[in-house]
């Protein structure tokens, strides 16, 4: 397995070998699915749309509906305006969504199609909306694409319609699973704060089996709620890379103050999230959540000997990694390699990924390799040079895990070879408890597997 990867690291500059990121449009498509009654549309040749739908379908094991402008050579030379106008007409007559959310691809970006004016010139039925985001794949990553589509939602939909802000909070959850979005919503609900969470793929990409196919399932952020986000008292952006740009745009456009917090993975980040809501909305933390927190601390204490001191290599999306690294440190584990494929500095303000993670490591007295815009070929080489006890990341990690015979915990996007994960959270106290279970079970399964007969223990 991966036998062609040498231990010796040679500096490369020709591109990625085994990337740890993918292109913008898939993130935009995912975000758009988090609007109720919305059909994502990919403006480019149809291959992109087919790839994005396939990949999302494999991760969620749910239908992922989207259309394409299906460029042919002619459209690529003369522009895709005609194709988009035809698509808009067909989408509303055949599928009748409330919103059509268009994103670009490298093709339409390279041609330079002017989407706002094409959309203006298109026949959009009364009461229906076409929004758009520019998502050139030669910048950033799928996380950037997610962020750009959320910005599109703010630009097209959010309005400040009153002077006084309402006692409600906007929460931009970032590129996380529907199970996570559901949990974030629940946390807000437990606190009794009215929250507008967008995008919200819960109820869309974790929809129940009811014996009927709904092209537009019951879930998703309602357009009127996204509109009303302009009247909220506060926006909490969860995750710098996926969420903070849109929160700041909302601040500029509608004067809603924005706070960026870490994706609430682990105790500290969840504490921060709740403390922010508590202080801005003068709410007491309900017993239920205090109990959950106490349970989490209890299971960590009870089980710390299973994972304390273990060395971990982590890879995935930057916001997830920031939360996860912090949590791994709170478990007394040692993150020695942390790598994302997403470039650090593609968004306003220069990259904070490496700085933030390095500071966390330093504060815990550890040193580690940290890299943005890296690839899994390099991560594998790092591991060959400095071995670890555990690997955490998306499905692609299984090849490294096998090559190096490492215990492997799947977390992040995409997970293509296991089911159920997208329904259950890794955020909040309960999500953290789930992570503790995954980590310690994985390490113990390995210990059992490798134990000599006389060392196999009933009680651990």
């Amino acid at each position: 397995m991966l036998d062609c990867t040498p231990k010796e690291i040679i500096k490369r500059s020709g591109g990625m070998i085994n990337p740890a990121k993918t292109c913008q449009p898939i993130g935009a498509m995912y975000a758009a699915l988090g609007i109720h009654n919305c059909l994502p549309h990919s403006h480019g040749s149809q291959g992109c749309c087919a790839y994005h739908r396939s990949h999302l379908t494999r991760h969620f094991r749910e239908p992922v509906m989207a259309t394409s402008s299906s460029f042919t050579e002619g459209a690529s030379v003369f522009g895709g305006g005609g194709n988009l106008k035809t698509a808009i007409k067909n989408v509303f007559s055949i599928y009748n969504p409330d919103v059509m959310a268009v994103h670009t691809t490298c093709l339409s970006e390279t041609i330079g199609d002017d989407l706002p004016s094409i959309i203006k010139g298109a026949e959009v039925p009364e009461g229906k909306l076409v929004i758009h985001a520019s998502t050139p794949s030669y910048q950033g990553s799928h996380i950037t694409g997610f962020s750009n589509m959320v910005k599109g939602m703010v630009t097209y939909l959010a309005k400040a319609t009153r002077d006084e802000k309402k006692e409600q909070v906007n929460i931009i959850p970032g590129f996380v699973n529907p199970g996570d979005m559901r949990e974030i919503k629940r946390l807000g609900g437990e606190l009794g704060v009215r929250s507008i969470i967008f995008p919200d793929t819960s109820g869309v990409l974790d929809s129940p089996m009811i014996g009927k196919f709904n092209m537009f399932p019951a879930g998703g952020a309602k357009v009127e709620d996204i509109r009303d986000s302009g009247n909220s008292k506060l926006t909490i952006a969860l995750g710098y890379y996926a969420s903070s740009d849109s929160a700041h745009l909302l601040e500029r456009n509608c004067q809603v103050p924005a706070i960026t917090l870490k994706t609430p993975i682990g105790i500290k980040a969840t504490d921060d999230f709740l403390m922010t809501l508590r202080s801005k909305f003068v709410q007491e933390i309900p017993n239920q959540l205090e109990e959950e927190r106490g349970q989490l601390v209890d299971v960590i204490t009870d089980n710390h000997h299973h994972f304390y001191g273990k060395k971990v290599a982590l890879f995935g999306d930057p916001d997830i990694l920031t939360g996860l690294t912090e949590f791994i440190l709170s478990l007394g584990m040692q993150p020695v390699h942390v790598l994302t494929g997403t470039p650090a500095g593609t968004l306003t303000g220069s990259g904070i990924f490496e700085k933030e993670i390095k500071e966390m490591l330093a504060a815990a007295g550890h040193e580690g390799r940290v890299k943005a815009a890296g690839d899994l070929f390099e991560l594998h080489q790092w591991i060959k040079n400095e071995p670890v006890d555990l690997l955490m990341g998306n499905t692609y990690g299984k090849y490294i895990a096998r090559a190096e015979d490492l215990p492997f915990v799947r977390v992040g996007f995409p997970i293509l070879d296991r089911g159920v994960h997208s329904y259950l959270p890794i955020v909040g106290y309960r999500g953290a408890m789930r992570l503790v279970e995954m980590i310690s079970d994985t390490l113990l399964d390995r210990q059992d597997r490798d134990a000599a007969d006389e060392d196999l223990e009933l009680v651990m």
């Binding site: 991966l2 036998d3 062609c4 040498p6 040679i10 490369r12 500059s13 020709g14 591109g15 990625m16 070998i17 085994n18 990337p19 993918t22 292109c23 549309h41 040749s45 149809q46 291959g47 992109c48 087919a50 790839y51 994005h52 396939s54 990949h55 379908t57 494999r58 094991r61 239908p63 259309t67 394409s68 402008s69 299906s70 042919t72 050579e73 690529s76 035809t86 808009i88 007409k89 067909n90 989408v91 007559s93 055949i94 599928y95 490298c106 093709l107 970006e109 390279t110 041609i111 050139p136 794949s137 030669y138 910048q139 929809s207 089996m209 009811i210 014996g211 709904n214 494929g341 070929f377």
Partner: protein, 545 residues
């Protein structure tokens, strides 16, 4: 329920007029009384319609080139295309030398904005240098994605220069996603490249054994090719190379020595099959190793081609032995499957190939179609002279090959060839429609809306297609089977494959999950309690109604 023109008309009525006119030509109700039923295929996808189709890049790099294991396939473009075509097709490969198996590697030039503005040739050159230095593959391919052609990167020139510099076979494929109308364009582009720059590069002059064959259009999904080769080897054939499942540059370059080419997937590889005949005089035989009867027929046709008594006898022995092994195993599954109906909508050949296997299990295919096939895959190759080239197909040049002076050899005498053509499909494919039962529907480029509507009308017991539409029927309570990637199972080809397939399909019908869809409280409303507690007359009526 039998379907008629009027019902199709009603389904199509929801479309805008232009879309309706277009789609109508892609749908045919099979009627054997009509000679040559025509269907429109390989035309543009309608923008804004939820299609399953992909692009030329997917057909070229994803389908044809990707499975070649000892080569590094560099994707030149932004990162996405390479990423999505990385290990997602289940084309398995086992390498003799593990250091020469690159299937688990995804190599992308990950073009950035500056590369789009100033050109990406330099970065591509650096990537080739790095691949040669670090990975040391036997050969390299470069596939272009959408922006490459537009910004004017000359990947052919980069490949030539790199080939000269490194002395490694490096070929470039201009398979930008906008070319043609589907994956099909990419198959053609890949076929041209392999034929022009790789096949024939090797220095073998004689076939390594008496019955040397190539298998074309077999991608070893879920290990299909291994199951087929197990049987072929046992009969006495030597497989020079499989194109391209578990294939390699080392084997492919000597593909010219085969005495016969088998064609499994006609759509994706017929170009090479034809060119091998023109250049080396090697005929091709259309085979189908999906389904027991089809497998037997294919084996017998091969034996007939070689015409050797011992080979014919051995073929029958192997068939008999295999049947004895699988028939008893098949019985319990047949019981579960018998009397059921299925939709079978797959890429460019399986929409046809699986119908026979379904029939053997007692399942009737009531609707079938291809995602990106051409008219000849539906109507048979007789239609080829009538096909017009349109603007989209013109963009993919035909490669004109001529007989190779040193290596062209008639494999069998002309007269015998003519005789054989009458009884076996040599250099011929009769297409899907001919084999379908009257009243069944053929749909080209079936889209989501039509899927939904046809399911409502025909209520199939099973829906077989790909990943993008898998979960739609499933939500409706209809079991599904992915026929592109086999739902992570397989092999499904050959004798033992049929058992795996039967087992998996039967599992879809038998899983208890279908019984739980409706919660008990939906069957059993709170009648008693409500009536007792409610004194108002109208209330009682409503609750009871």
């Amino acid at each position: 329920m039998a379907i008629n023109e009027k019902m199709i008309e009603e389904i199509l009525n929801k479309y805008p007029a232009k879309v309706k006119r277009n789609r109508k030509k892609h749908i045919v109700i099979r009627d054997s009384a009509q000679e040559n039923q025509e269907i429109e295929a390989n035309t543009r996808t309608i923008p804004g319609v939820v299609t399953n189709r992909g692009c030329a890049f997917a057909g070229c790099k994803g389908v044809v080139l990707g499975p070649l294991k000892d080569m590094v396939h560099i994707v030149h473009g932004p990162v996405g295309c390479g990423y999505y075509s990385w290990l997602t097709r289940r084309n398995k490969a086992r390498a003799e030398d593990p250091e020469k198996n690159f299937l688990a590697y995804c190599v992308s030039t990950d073009m950035q904005e500056s590369d789009i503005v100033f050109g990406g040739e330099k970065k591509l050159t650096r990537m080739i240098d790095e691949v040669v230095e670090i990975l040391k593959p036997n050969a390299i391919t470069i596939s272009a994605t959408c922006p490459v052609g537009l910004i004017g990167d000359d990947i052919q020139a980069v490949a030539r220069a790199a080939r000269a510099k490194h002395g490694v076979n490096i070929t470039a494929y201009s398979c930008e996603g906008y070319k043609g109308v589907s994956q099909s364009a990419g198959h053609h582009i890949a076929n041209n490249g392999l034929m022009e720059k790789i096949i024939g590069e090797g220095d073998l002059e004689e076939p390594p054994s008496k019955y040397t064959i190539n298998i074309l259009g077999e991608y070893n999904i879920g290990g299909d090719s291994w199951e087929v080769e197990r049987v072929l080897n046992d009969i006495g054939y030597e497989v020079q190379v499989v194109m391209t499942g578990n294939g390699s540059y080392e084997k492919l370059k000597n593909a010219h020595v085969a005495q016969l080419n088998l064609v499994q997937c006609h759509r994706s590889i017929n170009y090479i099959a034809d060119m091998l005949e023109t250049k080396y005089g090697t005929p091709w035989l259309k085979v189908n190793f999906i389904g027991i009867r089809a497998t037997i027929e294919s084996l017998r046709n091969m034996a007939l081609y070689f015409g050797d008594e011992a080979l014919i006898k051995r073929t029958e022995e192997v068939i008999e032995r295999e049947l004895a092994e699988i028939e008893p195993q098949l019985e319990p599954y047949k019981k579960i499957c018998s009397g059921k109906t299925a939709f079978c909508f797959v890429g460019g050949s399986r929409g046809h190939h699986y119908q026979g296997l379904y029939e053997e299990l007692g399942i009737t295919t009531v609707l079938a179609g291809y995602e990106f096939a051409h008219r000849d895959d539906y109507e048979g190759r007789d239609v080829l002279p009538n096909l017009k080239t349109d603007a989209d197909s013109k963009n993919i040049p035909d490669l004109h090959v001529t007989p190779d002076e040193g290596r062209y050899r008639l494999k069998i005498p002309v007269e015998r060839m003519e005789e054989l053509k009458k009884i076996i499909p040599l250099n011929d494919y009769k297409g899907m429609i001919n084999e379908m039962v009257d009243g069944s529907i053929v749909v080209d480029d079936l889209n989501h809306y039509e899927t939904d509507e046809f399911i409502k009308v025909l209520k199939p017991d099973l829906f077989s297609s790909g990943i993008k539409d898998k979960y739609i029927p499933q939500k409706m309570g209809v079991p599904t089977k992915q026929l592109h990637n086999y739902d992570y199972s397989g092999p499904y080809a050959g004798f033992r494959g049929a058992i795996n397939f039967a087992r998996d399909v039967a599992m879809g019908f038998s899983t208890p999950t279908w019984n739980f869809i409706v919660p008990p409280w939906k069957h059993n409303p709170l009648l008693e309690g409500s009536i007792e507690q409610c004194s108002d007359d109208t209330c009682v009526k409503e609750v009871g109604a």
